[in-house]
């Protein structure tokens, strides 16, 4: 049985449906991320787990117990907020000890636990400081220590790194993961940053418009997106509109060019319109006589450091592909004509989810919504 189970959870605010028919089972010790754009219901779901909001329907079970109607202060869940939410009137040590004090832990044990946690978050000398005397990153570390002090059954993190600058975000997220692994604590992490979700999680729940789009490992989410939304939201993606030519051979026509080896179209009928997606890193320059290629014209070359992203136009459709920045690399020039290999096994045929997702206009390249941190 799952450690934390959400069954048929929904939440309505007036006539607005924030979360609908949400089912999720989380194993003990897992690190699960809720990923999605603003307003997708990820924070509302987290708040229902924490007990800050009551679900309109459904049940939440923790370790076999129904906690749906249990008040927050009896749930034993640690929460870390985006805005740190440290008590300004208390020192760092008093903040960390607050939950222990409420649990009537003796003064000596409290002091010992506070010292342990301060060491864990790498701020052993900061116990006597007030929150306003710490940097944002330090405050969030203290908030994490405060949440961990009560030995919660579940740790809930609501966009904990969003208020921090890029460098600290990366180092702190690695620290969070290290601490989580060390303590083996079941963790739910809400973020709109796909890089955070993919790099931290055992499993990612991609959400959109109050619904779960896909649940899977970061690799599954990135490599085999199940809906058009997931494909578009996670990573950078090329979208091609094509027509099925020969289902048995997995071949489709993109304008006048034939692409083969796309196994997912085998279930389709000849003449069906399909949406095919392919990651920029899967496309490569090839020779003009190679199979499975598109003739393209270079429109823009963008230097991104380790990689060079090239935007091209093929049969009226825009595409991007990446080149690794190796020594001696020859960059394509604007208006140059190239042949690009589109491997059939890298093409994903996506389905719009429940009619809610509209693919972007004809053959557009869809950029990830979140900045790379």
């Amino acid at each position: 049985m799952a450690f934390l189970e959400l069954a048929g959870i929904s939440k309505q605010f007036g006539t607005t449906v924030a979360v609908a028919e949400y089912d999720l089972a989380i194993e003990q010790g897992a690190f699960v991320s809720f990923l999605g754009p603003s307003g997708c219901g990820k924070t509302t779901t987290l708040r229902m787990i924490a007990g800050f909001e009551q679900p309109t329907t459904g049940t939440i079970r923790l370790d076999g117990r129904d906690i749906t109607r249990q008040p927050t202060n009896r749930r034993n869940m640690g929460v870390v907020f985006q805005s740190y939410a440290l008590f300004p009137n208390m020192t760092v040590a008093q903040n960390i000890a607050f939950g222990l004090q409420l649990r009537k832990v003796s003064r000596q044990d409290r002091a010992r636990r506070v010292a342990e946690l301060l060491a864990l978050i790498g701020l052993p000398e900061m116990g006597g400081r007030y929150p306003h005397q710490l940097s944002g990153g330090q405050q969030q570390r203290v908030a994490l220590a405060r949440a961990l002090a009560i030995a919660p059954q579940v740790l809930l993190l609501d966009e904990p790194l969003s208020a921090l600058d890029a460098k600290i975000r990366v180092s702190l997220r690695n620290e969070i993961r290290t601490i989580q692994r060390k303590l083996g604590i079941t963790t739910i992490y809400v973020t709109h940053d796909q890089e955070e979700a993919l790099s931290l999680s055992d499993r990612v729940v991609v959400m959109n418009a109050g619904r779960v789009e896909q649940v899977g490992t970061p690799l599954e989410i990135y490599n085999t997106p199940q809906t058009a939304f997931v494909a578009a939201f996670v990573g950078t993606l090329n979208v091609l509109h094509a027509t099925v030519h020969d289902p048995a051979a997995g071949s489709v026509m993109v304008a006048e060019r034939e692409l083969t080896g796309i196994t997912a179209v085998r279930t389709k009928q000849r003449g069906d319109a399909v949406t095919i997606t392919v990651r920029p890193e899967a496309i490569a320059i090839t020779s003009a006589d190679a199979a499975n290629h598109l003739r393209v014209t270079v429109e823009e070359v963008t230097f991104l450091g380790a990689i060079i992203r090239v935007r091209v136009r093929a049969c009226g459709q825009a595409l991007s592909f990446d080149m690794l920045n190796r020594p001696g690399i020859v960059l394509p020039t604007i208006a140059e004509s190239l042949a690009l290999a589109i491997p059939g096994d890298a093409c994903i045929v996506v389905e719009p989810a429940a009619g809610e997702i509209r693919m972007p206009s004809l053959a557009t390249q869809v950029q990830a919504a979140a900045p790379v941190g």
Binding site: A50, T72, N73, V79, L86, P88, F98, S135, G136, A147
Partner: protein
């Protein structure tokens, strides 16, 4: 340069509006003995048992008023901000009513409403009624002050953080909300103190031995003592304001000014 000069001129005119009457009162209060300046009037005023009695009474009433309004207003303002933000305009309107309703109307309304109850048929009851009226009088200052204090902190998130750590409502108010709006409470408390110490109408109409009615009574029978008491009353108000500044600066410091370094 010319503009600057005029600024100073207008400031001086404005200051004279306050300073001249006050200076005159002070000077007059020091002239109780013919031909010399001294504190005779002050000594006489302070030596009167009625002074000690009325001053002590007003002090106790002020303390009770502050306590009652803090206990009433902090949880109310907190709850309005946390759960009923839509009611804020209505609550703000109610808190401003004491500015519109004259004290005389208020006191007759109270007497009519509580007539033939323990609140009007004993002196203790009347003192409670007096405290109640002062709580109403101080509402605009206390509520606004506390409400501003609460707006300066993230009430909703701090509450949720405390709840997640296991705190109930009582503990949240006591350990998180009260300490973080302490400066705001102090600010409201000093203004309340100043109002109560000098209030005349309500105390007089409820026949309570307050400092205001005592000053009024003295002014009808003495010459120099009323001026001395007026100066004392002003000094008290100014001391309250000065304390407010000092304590506010020391307690809040940079703490409420923000997060990062």
């Amino acid at each position: 340069m010319r503009r600057r000069l005029w600024s100073w001129v207008w400031l001086a005119v404005g200051a004279m509006y306050f300073v001249i009457p006050l200076g005159a009162t002070l000077q007059f209060s020091l002239q109780a003995k013919r031909g010399e300046m001294g504190f005779t009037a002050y000594r006489a005023a302070f030596a009167s048992p009625r002074f000690v009695e009325s001053f002590g009474f007003s002090l106790r009433v002020a303390a009770a008023t502050i306590l009652a309004s803090v206990l009433l207003i902090v949880p109310t303002a907190y709850w309005v901000q946390l759960r009923l933000p839509r009611l804020r305009p209505l609550i703000e309107f109610c808190t401003l009513l004491p500015f519109v309703v004259p004290a005389v109307v208020l006191v007759f309304g109270l007497i009519r409403s509580y007539n033939r109850t323990p609140l009007t048929n004993s002196s203790e009851g009347l003192a409670v009624l007096l405290v109640g009226s002062y709580v109403v009088l101080s509402l605009p200052y206390m509520y606004r002050s506390v409400d501003n204090g609460l707006r300066a902190i993230n009430v909703a998130t701090l509450t949720e953080a405390a709840q997640s750590l296991g705190a109930g409502w009582g503990m949240i108010l006591r350990a998180v909300i009260f300490p973080n709006v302490f400066v705001a409470i102090l600010s409201g408390a000093f203004v309340t103190f100043a109002i109560v110490m000098g209030e005349f109408t309500i105390a007089f109409l409820l026949a309570q031995p307050g400092f205001g009615p005592y000053m009024n009574q003295v002014s009808s029978s003495k010459v120099y003592e009323p001026s001395a008491l007026a100066v004392v009353s002003f000094a008290l108000t100014w001391a309250s304001i000065a304390l407010l500044q000092i304590v506010g600066r020391r307690v809040s410091g940079p703490r409420l000014s923000g997060g990062g370094r």
